[in-house]
């Protein structure tokens, strides 16, 4: 059985279920308890779990993440809300030098079961300091897991897995996804395994490998291509960007021979580059055309709507890339 609920509600269910299941799970963040989070993503939780376990905090991101790491070392499962993903920058030492390194550096004496919820992405002219997608920094930092839901189902399954994971896990949730509705399984033990991609749509002419909000844009592109041009495109939703599901990537190349990698984060130095390089190294013989990478332009996100909407890839750009690949070999 499944129900249709919003992405926000899916994350609330995930936290509710995990907090009931494990008394070690607790939440910290700015404006989350009394206000319920800026996107309503914590609404009602203090009623059930109290303000000891759903904690409002000062504007002290370094302390939140740092204390999250400490509490995790001491056996808790903290979920820390970053308010906006952009403010992770205020807690980089805690995340990169502490959380990511401790298990390895201390010879596996400890684990850091910390989850960071980080609302990210471009929406509503939030401007350069409230619009970024920063996942690639953390993919590049050994010791962290990075998951990025594309829909309500992912939101629930990935958040539950992130909370249960014994590794520090960043959970990037695109701000524009919060109100979107989708089907979510009823099963309380529904989890999405970290590191497993999902094929959202089959097709043999090309594959779009993507994640997060760009999955929806890729599906839209694939539908247009199928309907108008009879081009059949496979869409792979990575769901985790670290660990990456390299097997699913290789399968997609083997099945379609033409690949577009797409994300909203800046293309230069982005996760797409890792995927394209992996394909070049390991799947070269399966390719009929060079991999195309799509991502935001290498500029801060501008405020003006005309500028903002001009600098990151949406369905038409993704469809055009697929079309180019298919034309190359037809």
């Amino acid at each position: 059985m499944a129900r249709t609920i919003s992405f926000t509600e899916a994350t609330l269910e995930a936290m509710r279920e995990e907090m009931r299941r494990d008394p070690m799970v607790f939440l910290m963040g700015e404006d989350i308890a009394k206000q319920g989070g800026i996107f309503g993503q914590f609404k009602g939780l203090p009623d059930e779990f109290g303000i000891e376990r759903v904690r409002d905090t000062p504007i002290s991101e370094a302390a939140l993440v740092g204390a999250g790491v400490g509490a995790a070392l001491a056996g808790m499962r903290p979920v820390v809300d970053m308010h906006f993903a952009d403010f992770i920058t205020c807690s980089m030492d805690e995340l990169v030098n502490q959380a990511a390194k401790l298990r390895y550096m201390f010879g596996e004496q400890c684990t850091v079961p910390l989850t960071l919820r980080a609302p990210d992405g471009i929406t509503k002219s939030a401007g350069a300091q409230h619009s970024q997608s920063l996942e690639n920094w953390f993919v590049h930092t050994p010791g962290l897991e990075v998951v990025i839901p594309a829909n309500a189902r992912d939101a629930k399954g990935l958040l539950k897995s992130a909370i249960r994971s014994n590794n520090p896990t960043l959970y990037f949730e695109h701000k524009a996804l919060f109100p979107r509705k989708g089907e979510v399984p009823d099963d309380e033990d529904f989890l999405i395994p970290i590191g497993k991609a999902e094929t959202m749509r089959e097709g043999g002419d090309a594959a779009i490998i993507t994640y997060g909000i760009t999955v929806g844009r890729a599906l839209e592109a694939a539908e247009t291509l199928e309907r108008d041009e009879r081009i059949a495109v496979r869409v792979v939703n990575l769901r985790s960007v670290w660990p990456l599901d390299y097997a699913a990537i290789a399968d997609a190349v083997a099945a379609t021979h033409r690949v577009v990698v797409a994300h909203e984060a800046v293309r230069v130095g982005g996760v797409g580059g890792e995927i394209a390089a992996f394909i070049a190294e390991h799947c070269f013989d399966d390719l009929d055309a060079p991999v195309i990478r799509l991502g935001a332009a290498h500029v801060p996100v501008p405020f003006a709507p005309v500028l903002q909407e001009a600098m990151y890839p949406k369905a038409p750009a993704i469809a055009a890339a697929c079309r180019d690949l298919v034309r190359k070999v037809r």
Partner: protein, 364 residues
């Protein structure tokens, strides 16, 4: 120390023209922000906007004590600081409207207004983002042996972040010509300050770094001006930083569209009498006729109307502008940055489409 209102004593003759200037500035800020609120709600201003209505005495009082070549750094709530420092209303309103003639070419918006021609180092989308900028600008003034000062405006919430502590200490040990101006409006977005700190007066934090502090009635523009003036003189004399805590109150929501579930209407009403404009008008008493008072409003309203017309007439930024401006050289295709900008623009150009105008009520 507790928050006490200074008695609204009658003005000395020598204070009247100063008080009028402060009143005029506060009215300009008020008219500007009421205008921003209207046009935001009408859907003409995209993004987020945070108003300082009720807090104008701080911006007006501090900036009146500054020179054009002094520096200020502001917050997400920066319209007042920027106007009071001397920016043109036209360029600011055009920026909020995301137009090409905006002070940041439409790339910044309300949360990122800036005017370097008057030493305004920018509003900031990151709480406590200004402390380092001010410490650095003050350091530059010192190294270059000018007598400029740098002023950091910030909220109570910002004082819980590390950069506040690190930069206060730095400014203290290096005796920097800096002024730290806290606008304690008792809230950090939805959270009452009493829930995030154990102290009533944030100024005692400055004591911990060896920085002299003053607590002033933040609704009293003259009191703010005197405190700032003294601190600025100290800084110019090379005697180091000062911390000024202005006790104030944010009458509007945290952002335009804030449902304000965290406080009662009664609480906001109770602050009506604290209105810094009402307070200063009362203090001017018969020295300012009702007609003169209305003229101040009239002038500010015409200024806003002119700025609004300017903003509306200004073009949308050219789409190619999205790809340029991050680096020096990126407008010149012969440079590496410029050559890359050309490639980026070409990659996106086939997909440029008309964009619907601003939405309203963003959650923030």
């Amino acid at each position: 120390m507790t928050h006490t209102l200074t008695p609204d004593a009658p003005l000395a003759d020598s204070e009247i023209s100063l008080a009028r200037a402060l009143l005029q500035m506060m009215i300009r800020v008020r008219v500007l922000e009421e205008g921003i609120e209207r046009h935001f709600l009408a859907g003409e201003i995209p993004g987020f906007a945070h108003l300082s209505i009720g807090q104008e005495a701080v911006a007006a009082g501090v900036c009146a004590a500054l020179r054009r070549d002094d520096y200020i750094a502001s917050t997400h709530r920066g319209h007042g600081h920027t106007l009071a420092k001397g920016t043109a209303m036209r360029a600011m309103v055009a920026e909020l409207f995301a137009r090409a003639d905006g002070m940041c070419r439409g790339k910044g918006g309300s949360m990122h207004i800036a005017d370097f021609s008057i030493g305004m180092l920018g509003a900031n989308g990151v709480v406590a983002g200004g402390f380092g900028l001010v410490a650095g600008a003050a350091l530059a003034a010192r190294l270059r042996k000018t007598d400029q000062v740098a002023v950091c405006f910030f909220g109570d919430g910002a004082t819980n972040r590390g950069p506040f502590h690190e930069n206060l200490n730095l400014a203290a040990i290096w005796n920097l010509p800096a002024l730290f101006v806290l606008e304690n409006n008792h809230y950090a977005s939805t959270t009452e300050t009493s829930e995030t700190m154990k102290i009533e007066d944030v100024a005692i934090r400055a004591d911990g770094y060896g920085i002299p502090s003053q607590i002033v009635d933040g609704f009293d523009a003259l009191a703010v001006y005197y405190a700032a003036g003294e601190a600025v003189e100290r800084a110019r004399r090379g005697e180091g930083p000062t911390f000024i805590e202005c006790k104030t109150y944010r009458v509007r929501g945290h952002y335009i569209g804030d449902p304000e579930r965290y406080r009662t209407k009664g609480e906001v009403e109770a602050h009506k009498s604290d209105d810094p404009i009402v307070r200063l008008q009362a203090r001017l008493g018969p020295t300012l006729s009702q007609q003169e008072f209305e003229e101040l409003w009239g002038t500010a309203k015409s200024e806003f109307a002119d700025a609004l017309a300017f903003a509306r007439a200004s073009a949308q930024p050219e789409t190619g502008e999205a790809f340029r401006g991050a680096y020096e050289g990126d407008r010149d295709p012969e440079t590496p940055h410029g050559a890359f900008a050309v490639r980026e623009e070409a990659a996106f150009a086939p997909f440029f489409t008309e964009v619907p105008s601003a939405g309203t009520g963003s959650a923030h």
